[in-house]
């Protein structure tokens, strides 16, 4: 079947295989045609009775067993067997089986193949078969004349072949014909193999669909996680923080009421107030780490500016965004930047960090560069891998360049189209 010199093809077993394959398809195609017509016609006629639906379902699913048979029959002309495109249905009930099969695209492709086989390939195969038969008759002309039908064989109408030797030219013509038939069968087999590959083999799409589904479920998890963070932030803000503020206020009022009457008690109250304030400070830091309010209200650039103001290393910020970005992008970008800044402060020994950000073709691009000693290893810490994972869910990318001796540069790209 592959690229070989023509005469090698003729002398190999391939013509036989192709004939077997193509001609074998003829009775098979006719059987399929008959079955399909009976099922469809019967189904339509009895659709009022209710059994019609079952017949039509059977017609729809008839491609499945045919596909299995065809993949096996393909072994005649195709060395590598095709894999079954269907999902395994071990131990499933009849209802589940039917539903699964009807939901699979492979089932419908096989049905299409069934119709092609019944209408096109069997017809073409019939043509090849007839040619083959004719060629065989020509080749065996002398034998026929000699053994079976002396004086009555007429290849050319009106002119009987008188004796076996006179049939020899016809044998030569028959051999030529046979070669042509072999090529025709080869060609047809080739087309059929291609079609079978296209319609009967598994496509990669179920796997892709699986990956998409997985990504979606991961994104849902992240969303749920994000919602939970928001809820905690809200609870802390509306609950604990307000309670503590109210406490400092009550202590302040008590101090005021007490005046200078009892200095010892006033000092204790002042201390209590100081402790409450420190608790508030800690709580504020915690809340900021969960989800900063400024990010919600003013967006990425403002929130990053607030972080930079408290950062031990000078941070230069150049974030220029024409509009607010989707919430998930903003949050992820914010935490990526804060993580990068934390790393820079902890490990890099840098004296300056630069954060640049912009939007190009609806993609957010961020670069965080420090002038430190470099050598950051994404595989080393969980921080960077965690960020890369979060970005991956948004179909974003994190690139880390950190040669020994620095500088360290983090590049983040996130698509912003929803």
């Amino acid at each position: 079947m592959r690229h070989r010199p023509p005469h090698r093809f003729l002398l190999s077993s391939w013509p036989l295989r192709c004939w077997a394959y193509v001609c074998g398809g003829v009775p098979l195609g006719l059987v399929v045609l008959a079955v399909m017509l009976v099922l469809v016609a019967g189904g339509l006629l009895t659709s009022a009775v209710g059994i019609g639906l079952a017949l039509l379902t059977a017609a729809a699913l008839s491609g499945v067993p045919l596909g299995r048979l065809e993949r096996r029959r393909l072994g005649l002309v195709e060395p590598t067997p095709l894999r079954d495109p269907h999902r395994p249905l071990k131990g499933a009930g009849l209802r589940t089986r039917l539903r699964t099969r009807c939901g699979e695209r492979a089932t419908w492709r096989e049905l299409g193949y069934a119709w092609l086989l019944a209408l096109v390939f069997s017809a073409a195969g019939l043509g090849v078969s007839l040619l083959l038969l004719f060629a065989l008759v020509l080749v065996t002309c002398p034998v026929i004349v000699w053994a079976l039908a002396p004086d009555t064989v007429m290849i050319i109408p009106g002119q009987a072949v008188p004796h076996p030797l006179a049939g020899l030219p016809f044998t030569a013509a028959g051999l030529l014909f046979l070669a042509l038939t072999a090529y025709a069968a080869g060609l047809l087999a080739g087309v059929q193999v291609r079609t079978a590959h296209f319609l009967l083999a598994p496509r990669e799409e179920p796997l892709t669909r699986h990956v998409v589904e997985l990504t979606r479920s991961r994104a849902r998890l992240v969303d749920a996680f994000e919602a939970e963070r928001r809820r905690i932030e809200r609870d802390l803000h509306d609950g604990a923080q307000q309670q503590l503020v109210a406490l400092t206020m009550t202590l302040g009022l008590a101090e005021m009421e007490l005046g200078d009457a009892r200095p010892g008690a006033a000092a204790l109250l002042a201390r209590g107030r100081g402790e409450a304030r420190r608790a508030l400070d800690q709580l504020r830091d915690l809340v900021r780490g969960i989800h900063p309010q400024v990010l919600t209200d003013h967006g990425l650039a403002a929130a990053v500016t607030e972080v930079a103001l408290r950062h031990p290393i000078p941070v230069r910020i150049d974030i220029d965004l024409p509009h607010r970005l989707p919430e998930a992008v903003e949050t992820t970008a914010y935490f990526t930047i804060t993580e990068a800044l934390t790393n820079a402060a902890k490990h890099s020994g840098a004296t300056e960090v630069q954060v640049r950000g912009g939007l190009r073709k609806e993609r957010l691009t961020l670069t965080i560069t420090d002038d430190g000693r470099g050598g950051a290893d994404p595989a080393g810490g969980t921080g960077l891998t965690g960020l890369a994972d979060r970005l991956a869910i948004l179909r974003g990318r994190l690139t880390v360049s950190s040669p020994a001796g620095g500088p360290t540069r983090l590049t983040v790209e996130v698509p912003c189209s929803a």
Binding site: V245, G252, L253, D297, H298, L309, R310
Partner: protein, 221 residues
């Protein structure tokens, strides 16, 4: 005595603030829990000063702050003291540079300042009298930023600027830093020069703070 409209969605805190203000000798003419009610209360009560939380219902974003700025835009110089849970320069900037901001009668305080009752009441009176007061923490954060114009200030000048930004007058600043008032004036003049602030323009102290909030002293007001 000041007539105060108070907007704070946390019930506990609202009650506490009402008590504090009443004990401080003021009258709380309305204490509300969301931004639309704040607007309505101001329209009907015409208070001397508004105290509002930043984050308020219905969306729990910066409704309180926005409502206060809207009210100022409509009611001239209605003094507004904003209480915030967070030391966020973004909110302070929004307050001082937003629509209807103006340069008088504005305050931005961290919520826990209410614990220092006497200071809080003083601040409220100053805001109501038309001064602008920014939380010392915000000023500290801003001054720690290494922006170009600020690096030209000496540490003492930054200190003076910080106190000025809190709305203190020269006498008080001199007292706090235990220097003469004349040297405070000298420092202030140096600050104005270094930050390229036009001495003929309004409240230069506030302009100086604004310069920080914007991070570009050259733009001035």
């Amino acid at each position: 005595m000041l007539r105060v409209v108070l907007a704070e969605d946390a019930v506990l805190l609202r009650a506490g603030l009402v008590e504090l203000l009443t004990r401080g000798g003021h009258e709380v003419v309305a204490a509300v829990g969301d931004a639309p009610s704040l607007t309505r209360a101001v329209e009907t009560e015409r208070p001397d000063v508004v105290i509002t939380d930043v984050r308020m219902p219905p969306d729990f974003r910066d409704e309180g702050l926005k409502a206060a700025l809207d009210l100022r835009a409509r009611h001239g110089r209605l003094p507004v003291l904003v209480l915030s849970q967070y030391v966020a320069t973004a909110y302070a900037t929004q307050l001082l540079t937003g629509d209807g901001a103006g340069l008088t009668g504005l305050g931005y305080l961290l919520k826990d300042r209410v614990g220092e009752v006497a200071d809080f009441l003083t601040t409220l009176r100053r805001v109501a009298a038309g001064e602008t007061v920014i939380d010392p923490e915000v000023v500290r954060v801003l001054l720690s930023r290494r922006t170009e114009p600020l690096t030209r200030l000496t540490p003492r000048e930054r200190e003076v600027l910080s106190l000025m930004a809190q709305g203190l007058n020269n006498q008080t600043i001199a007292h706090r830093l235990t220097v003469t008032e004349a040297s405070v004036v000298k420092h202030a003049s140096n600050i104005f020069t270094k930050l390229s602030l036009d001495p003929t323009e309004g409240n230069r102290r506030v302009l100086a703070v604004l310069a920080h909030l914007r991070g570009d002293a050259g733009a001035g007001a």
